[in-house]
């Protein structure tokens, strides 16, 4: 029932293509920039960087790494086994001196091997990636989190007040502030009406998911939803919204998932929804439009 081909994969490929095309030819990145810097950034810099310098050590640039700590050099070029940096990252989990400390995840085998090869190869700032043919590839680094909505925390008081007055809930999607809010009505579906949606307009940009199943929302409410520009997922199942109302959602640039199960949406409305710019998942089981489609020979 849900719909289109795998767009995100296509987009990723497209993005990769553009990225590769944009890289200047001939300017090969160094092994330090490509491998060692990112490893240190991921595991070490939070305690050994611009914010904190535990043991007087910074690891956020090649120069700092080679400068070492209060106690002396961290890296002895050519001598991995004798390098304090290497010793610390290869101690067993739970050892008093193992780094990273405090139960943070240890370096992977591949990361350790890259550090080892880099030290053995002279701890160079300039050698290219191609000069380390035996270095295992690192797992793809986690993509930087993309904020789906502005940070809601500065507006917490306003959000609380709206929850109290409207009898709905505005729940953070996760502890990452950029993940936005969920409008939740499962415990009080009757409160999720058109008037409530109108009242939420001032904080609408913070809402990424709207759970409006079983609410009395109508097409008039959808007109208001059409201005919730960060909405990604909208559940309108078991509501009275129609195909006319759905048209108002065409303006939502990020709407990926739309649930019209058991709504009053007709075939034209479903056609309209299929054309939404970002829509990837659409359900309309039990809606008149879908029933008609299914009944067709």
């Amino acid at each position: 029932m849900a719909s289109s081909p795998d767009l995100p994969r296509f987009r990723r490929r497209l993005a990769l293509g553009i990225l590769l095309a944009a890289l200047p030819l001939g300017a090969e990145t160094t092994f330090y920039q490509d491998r060692i810097g990112p490893i240190l950034d991921r595991h070490c810099v939070v305690c050994h960087g611009p914010e904190k310098q535990k043991a007087g050590l910074r690891l956020d640039s090649f120069a700092w790494v080679m400068k070492g700590a209060e106690s002396g050099a961290m890296v002895l070029p050519g001598n991995a086994a004798g390098s304090e940096l290497y010793r610390r990252i290869t101690l067993p989990a739970g050892d008093d001196e193992v780094m990273p400390t405090d139960g943070k995840p240890l370096l992977s085998r591949e990361e350790i091997r890259n550090v080892e090869l880099w030290i053995l190869g002279g701890a160079s700032a300039t050698k290219g990636v191609a000069e380390f043919p035996g270095a295992p590839a690192l797992g793809r680094p986690k993509p930087a989190p993309v904020a789906l909505a502005p940070d809601w925390r500065p507006r917490a008081d306003e959000i609380r007040r709206l929850e109290t007055e409207l009898g709905i809930r505005l729940v953070p999607r996760s502890q990452q502030a950029g993940d936005g809010l969920i409008l939740r009505t499962a415990g009080s579906p009757r409160r999720g009406d058109d008037a409530t949606l109108a009242r939420l307009a001032p904080i609408a940009e913070l809402i990424v998911e709207a759970e409006l199943a079983r609410t009395p929302v109508t097409d008039a409410g959808l007109a208001a939803l059409g201005r919730w520009t960060n909405l990604r997922s909208l559940d309108l199942s078991r509501t009275r919204v129609t195909g006319q109302g759905v048209a108002a959602l065409a303006s939502l640039p990020h709407l990926e998932a739309l649930n019209l199960t058991d709504s009053a949406v007709d075939a034209a409305g479903i056609q309209r929804a299929r054309a939404f710019p970002a829509l990837r998942r659409l359900w309309a089981f039990g809606a008149p439009g879908m029933v008609a489609t299914e009944a067709r020979p």
Binding site: T164, G167, V171, R173, E211
Partner: protein, 515 residues
């Protein structure tokens, strides 16, 4: 040690279960001050601060609906929210207690067809200690499945002919063939899957989710358990609330179990002559007394009691609506079968699970027992498959067509595997299978899991895992991950340890099955 104004501290030698007359936990003789402070801080954090803005939002809602605000905040669960954006908002766990054989369900072993009644090679068994039920057998004759397998769908899963409906939804399923456990008997094995530990007393999976994520619908429990009527009864395991208790977490995180016959929850209706207002006034009065008790004694169980009164009051309206199936269209009965109209059947429970999911219940666990086929396996597993196959497939299909499968994780499986050799006499038509902890099959669907995937492999005898082993801890870590929770960080301090569902042994998220 005992303040004179505390009437509950009269005799330090009384046990705390003497009608509430014992010393409170923070008055225990010799309790170090540091520990007392930690405990007090814990209570305070759990009940007042941990929920951040949600606590205040909920309190606001409570006051709006005319409920006493203090009772709400005092009893509210410590909601921290997901660590990162979740793929699953809810889960439905279809627990096949007793353990269906992997040979007749998901782990197709054609090589065994040519080895009927041959002895299991000693090299395969590798000196493994067997259960008392088969250890004394003179020989271990290989028993191939008498049921045929065929490949289905785009995914090409091999599915047993016992499960024709499930075979049709194969493309939705991620079949894991390499689960393993240390437990070799039902009770510890079921406990390990439901609570992460073979010893009773730990919080169950659903309780951890309730603790970490809170309720989506305050009118219904966050965690619901249903047991199912059985088509036959052989070697039936006892189920009890130790499988769905909250352990050391606050008791409001325990499951509410819906009854399999009659009213789903007993005594929900007010007696004749008692109006809703009278009931409300009574609960307010009882809660006020309980709050006084909490202030004096400081026992978290008192707050849980307050929460339970409130939940019971709210369920007076929410449960009858939940259990009223009159609005279900004919397409529902076509899908689940007529048996879904009979309360307590597995099919009915599956339909209820969909209705609970629609209403925002986080975790629903359905138990279906009597899969423990030490003898007469061919006959009895067929009865079990016939009882459950259509409803299982119906649930996944229904969730999918209603747009719920996207963020609902469905889990199907038992607590361990079974042996490739026959327990007792092997004939062409009959055999039995003993417990086998080294490998077993489960499947997952929806909720951010890769559909149509077969993960992990066993050897030709489904005796040892040869690729991608998945420990129960890994399964738990993965399930929490799908809910946006890091299993290393979802913890609760108890007995001096930051306790976790996955315990202290290594556990890993199974990246290979994430969509």
């Amino acid at each position: 040690m005992h303040s004179p104004e505390n009437p509950f501290a009269r005799d330090p030698h009384l046990c705390s279960d003497h009608a509430g007359e014992g010393p409170s936990i923070w008055n225990l003789p010799g309790l170090p001050d540091a520990l007392r402070r930690e405990w007090l801080a814990l209570e305070t954090r759990r009940h007042f601060l941990g929920r951040g803005m949600q606590a205040l939002g909920w309190a606001g809602l409570a006051s709006l609906l005319g409920r006493p605000l203090a009772a709400q905040t005092a009893a509210g669960p410590a909601v921290l929210g997901p660590h990162y954006a979740p793929r699953a908002k809810r889960a439905i766990y279809l627990f096949m207690a007793g353990s269906p054989s992997q040979f007749e369900t998901w782990d197709h072993k054609p090589v065994l067809q040519r080895m009927f009644d041959q002895d299991l090679p000693e090299s395969v068994r590798g000196g493994q200690v067997l259960t008392g039920m088969t250890a004394s057998q003179a020989r271990f004759p290989i028993a191939p499945s008498i049921y045929k397998f065929a490949q289905h769908g785009q995914a090409g899963h091999w599915v047993s002919e016992l499960f024709p409906h499930t075979a049709r939804i194969g493309d939705e399923l991620c079949v894991l063939k390499s689960l393993h456990t240390e437990a070799i008997n039902h009770e510890p094995a079921i406990l390990q899957l439901t609570t992460g530990n073979m010893f009773p007393g730990r919080p169950s999976l659903g309780s951890w989710l309730s603790y970490g994520l809170g309720a989506m619908n305050d009118e219904l429990p966050t965690f619901v358990v249903m047991t199912s009527k059985m088509p036959h009864r052989t070697n039936v395991q006892a189920l009890s609330n130790r499988l769905w208790s909250s352990g050391f977490l606050s008791p409001e995180h325990a499951a509410v179990s819906l009854r399999s016959a009659g009213d789903p929850v007993l005594h929900l209706n007010n007696p004749p002559g008692v109006s809703g207002d009278v009931r409300r006034a009574m609960i307010d009065g009882v809660n006020a007394l309980n709050r006084q008790l909490f202030e004096r004694v400081g026992d978290a169980e008192t707050n849980a009691r307050i929460a339970q009164y409130e939940m019971a009051f709210r369920m007076q309206s929410s449960v009858p609506e939940l259990a009223d199936l009159s609005s279900e269209p004919q397409s529902t009965w076509d899908l689940y079968g007529e048996k879904a109209k009979e309360p307590g059947t597995y099919a009915y429970n599956c339909l209820m699970a969909r209705r609970l999911a629609e209403r925002g219940v986080r975790f629903t666990q359905i138990f279906l027992r009597s899969w423990d086929q030490h003898s007469n396996l061919p006959r009895n597993i067929k009865l079990m498959a016939e009882e459950s196959d259509q409803a299982t497939a119906a649930l996944v299909t229904d969730l999918k067509r209603r747009g719920l499968l996207d963020d609902t994780l469905v889990v199907w499986g038992g607590e361990f595997g079974r042996t490739c050799y026959s327990q007792g006499v092997l004939t062409a038509e009959n055999y039995g299978r003993d417990h086998h902890p080294r490998c077993f099959s489960m499947w997952l669907a929806g909720g951010g899991v890769k559909p149509g995937l077969s993960f992990g492999e066993t050897d030709d005898f489904s005796y040892n895992i040869v690729k991608d082993p998945v420990h129960i801890r890994d399964l738990h870590a993965t399930m929490l991950h799908l809910f946006g929770l890091d299993h290393n960080r979802l913890s609760f301090r108890f007995q001096g340890l930051d306790q976790r569902l996955t315990g202290v042994l290594p556990a890993k998220v199974i990246d290979g099955i994430l969509a």
